[in-house]
């Protein structure tokens, strides 16, 4: 074939199959975190919900303080506090229906408690008597997850399975800013979007992954911007504004329930305390930063709104505090009792039926304990 023939016969064509699959514009988060408290939107919020959020925030703050105190008394091995992040924890719990599932990370015992889990059961992992202190099916709360971001694909799989079964179930998964760097975050979000699974991802961006500040974690405009790369909407919210977090999550849950697929929500918040009681935060951050955030406090914000609008008075505040004290006293008392342990549990749940090898080992331990006189 000569050049002439070619020139006559061939017309360059555009790439055939390609077209933008979705319009990115609606996926992009707003430039500023969404806020309700102190804005006009607060007027439209349900006062009952706001009061409920307030009561839970106060209880949550007290719960965090009590759990931290228990580490000092040697009653908890370790406690990663969510003080300062209560708005996220509480909103995540309250936004779900009973039939929905919550996938907490290791820091989110409060979300589990706010959803109705007995605080003692929530703290079993951190006390050290067993890994997960509750039956996940009872409150539809997956085990508190220690390996970061690994719970996210679980949430996607569960939501997908529910949808396949035709059940109206949404999964809400919590993860930290640090956790977004893990490959599992990426794979989970991608699967969710491809499967259009009814799942909501809530990133609590509390500024730090232990000592590592967000600037060393990502160069993205915001973590919510990651959503675009999966084809799901990204939303930014003030994570200390309980009303805003609740509203953004409620929208995302509704969207998922209606078959609209997953949403990524980034809540801007702050870890006011150290990473855990074992951490020394002065090594990596100054007091000024912490103080600034203490001012933008979730309880203060909501209390201000409620009192200003006459929805809460001193009696109401006192009632919330009393309820929190009751919870704390009960928790303190029950955590001060030594848990009853059975060493044979080591072998009881490894398999549905223990292997012959495990039975041998069980017998060995049994004999040892009998020799020690530990068991009858």
């Amino acid at each position: 074939m000569t050049v002439m023939e070619q020139r006559g016969g061939y017309r360059p064509s555009p790439p055939p199959a390609w077209q933008p699959r979705t319009d990115p514009a609606p996926l992009l988060p707003d430039a500023e975190p969404y806020r309700v408290l102190g804005t006009e939107a607060a007027g439209k919020a349900d006062p009952g919900l706001l009061r409920r959020l307030y009561a839970e925030l106060v209880r949550g703050r007290r719960y965090n303080a009590q759990a931290t105190a228990l580490t000092k008394q040697g009653r908890l091995a370790v406690y990663p506090s969510s003080t300062g992040q209560e708005a996220c924890e509480v909103a995540a719990a309250l936004v779900l229906e009973d039939r929905d599932w919550l996938f907490p990370s290791y820091r989110d015992t409060l979300a589990a408690v706010a959803r109705g889990l007995d605080p003692v059961e929530a703290l079993t992992l951190l006390r050290g008597d067993w890994h997960t202190g509750y039956d996940p099916h009872e409150h539809r709360i997956a085990p508190l997850c220690t390996p970061l971001a690994t719970q996210l694909p679980h949430a996607v799989g569960l939501a997908h399975a529910a949808r396949l079964k035709g059940d109206d179930v949404v999964a809400l998964a919590l993860v930290g800013d640090g956790g977004t760097s893990e490959g599992d975050f990426h794979e989970a979000l991608n699967f969710a979007a491809v499967w259009q699974a009814p799942v909501v991802f809530l990133v609590q961006n509390n500024g730090f992954a232990i000592s590592v500040p967000l600037a060393k974690q990502t160069a993205a405009p915001s973590l919510a911007h990651k959503a675009v790369g999966y084809g799901m909407p990204g939303r930014l919210v003030d994570g200390n504004d309980a009303a805003a977090v609740h509203q953004v999550l409620a929208d995302a849950v509704r969207h998922a329930r209606a078959g609209g697929g997953p949403t990524l929500v980034e809540a801007i918040t702050y870890r006011v305390e150290a990473h855990t009681n074992a951490d020394d935060a002065t090594r990596y951050r100054g007091d000024a930063e912490v103080d600034a955030w203490r001012d933008h406090d979730p309880i203060k914000l909501l209390e201000h709104e409620l009192t200003t609008r006459g929805l809460l008075d001193d009696a109401g505040i006192q009632a919330a505090r009393d309820a929190a004290e009751t919870m704390a006293a009960d928790l303190r008392e029950r955590m001060n009792q030594d848990p009853v342990l059975d060493p044979m549990d080591l072998f009881a749940h490894v398999y549905a039926e223990p292997t012959p090898q495990l039975l041998e080992q069980r017998a060995q331990l049994q004999a040892e304990l009998e020799a020690e006189g530990e068991t009858p």
């Binding site: 099916h137 085990p143 690994t150 996607v156 799989g157 997908h160 079964k165 699967f191 292997t355 012959p356």
Partner: protein, 334 residues
């Protein structure tokens, strides 16, 4: 009654049939992985399943192994029975954190309230001329992970029976499919009703009096061949096919070694830190006074899996097995 001439089926076909029967019997069984749907898998082991049961039951996933296993965990939490295909053994590695930290431990973590009945199918082992990362034997990693069952069929019938058992198991099972036996055939008749083979039982594939070859998966046919060849040397070898590495059938293995007094463990996986050490140590612990010689091991070398043109030097073959048998201190015999 009329007798019908039946074409023997391949191991791959028996595996397909096992999934098909399981899916037909139990609507919670879901197959998932890379290319398992439309294509039917790169080894065609899931051929036809998407067509018969729909893409929701046999799903082409995005290309991400941790995501595949991680979402399977979530599906199992909700009551499904995922059967996950890892395309090749080395491509299961990205999923190790999900495997070790969750799949193997979720039942234990939750005191039995959240079992994970997941089957992880891993086409494994070498001998197919595959380029790097396509021929690993990774069972040592699975063995050392409590909470997993580890199964490896060597015959067409076991491929069916054990895969049915794996899918029916309430525990996670790593199901190792010897790649180079995919196209092997034996007397298995796909037209007959098939039976489930309970996990955890070794079987004596060949009886013998001189020594025991303890093996599993792709090395079973090699050991049977070696046993045939050994007759010329005057050795009558027994061959034990473990079928399941976890749980381990100490009873069958030790009964054999106590009879013969000598044993060689044979597997393709690397020797150092491989299954053979565990097996040899167990046999020694339990049969010490019956042993005429140390339990020897014939295994892959302790090297990364070789390129195709050199793999035959790496794989345990008949000669290497006979050589080991020859070192079982026969002088002491008379």
């Amino acid at each position: 009654m009329t007798t019908v001439a039946v074409k023997p089926a391949t191991m791959a076909q028996a595996l397909t049939r096992a999934m098909r029967d399981a899916m037909a019997a139990d609507p919670t069984v879901h197959v998932m992985g890379e290319d398992v749907g439309t294509l039917g898998g790169v080894f065609r082991v899931t051929d036809g399943l998407a067509k018969e049961f729909g893409e929701d039951r046999c799903t082409d996933t995005p290309l991400a192994e941790a995501g595949i296993l991680g979402t399977a965990v979530g599906m199992a939490m909700y009551g499904l029975r995922p059967v996950v295909e890892m395309q090749f053994d080395a491509f299961a590695y990205p999923a190790f954190e999900q495997l070790i930290s969750h799949v193997a431990r979720m039942r234990n973590r939750t005191r039995g309230t959240m079992p994970l009945p997941i089957t992880i199918r891993v086409p494994y082992g070498g001998g197919i001329g595959g380029v790097e990362h396509h021929s690993d034997s990774s069972e040592a990693y699975y063995l050392a992970t409590p909470g997993l069952h580890v199964v490896a069929p060597a015959t067409v019938a076991d491929a069916y029976g054990l895969l049915r058992a794996a899918i029916a198991s309430d525990d996670p099972v790593v199901f190792l499919e010897p790649k180079r036996l995919y196209w092997s055939k034996d007397s298995w008749n796909p037209e007959e009703p098939q039976s489930v083979e309970p996990i955890g039982r070794a079987v004596v594939r060949r009886s013998g009096r001189s020594a025991t070859l303890i093996t599993y998966g792709p090395s079973v046919p090699v050991c049977l061949e070696a046993a045939e060849a050994a007759r010329a040397e005057g050795w009558d070898l027994e061959v034990v096919d473990l079928r399941s590495l976890v749980p381990f059938d100490d009873e069958t293995v030790c009964a054999s070694v106590r009879r013969t007094g000598r044993a060689v463990v044979v597997h393709e996986s690397g020797g150092f830190g491989g299954p053979g050490g565990e097996i040899a140590a167990r046999v020694m612990e339990r049969c010490f006074h019956h042993l005429e010689a140390p339990v020897l091991r014939v295994a892959g070398f302790d090297i990364p899996y070789p390129p195709p043109m050199l793999e035959r030097h790496h794989l345990p073959g008949v000669d290497r097995i006979l050589d080991a048998v020859g070192r079982l201190q026969w002088e002491a015999e008379s």
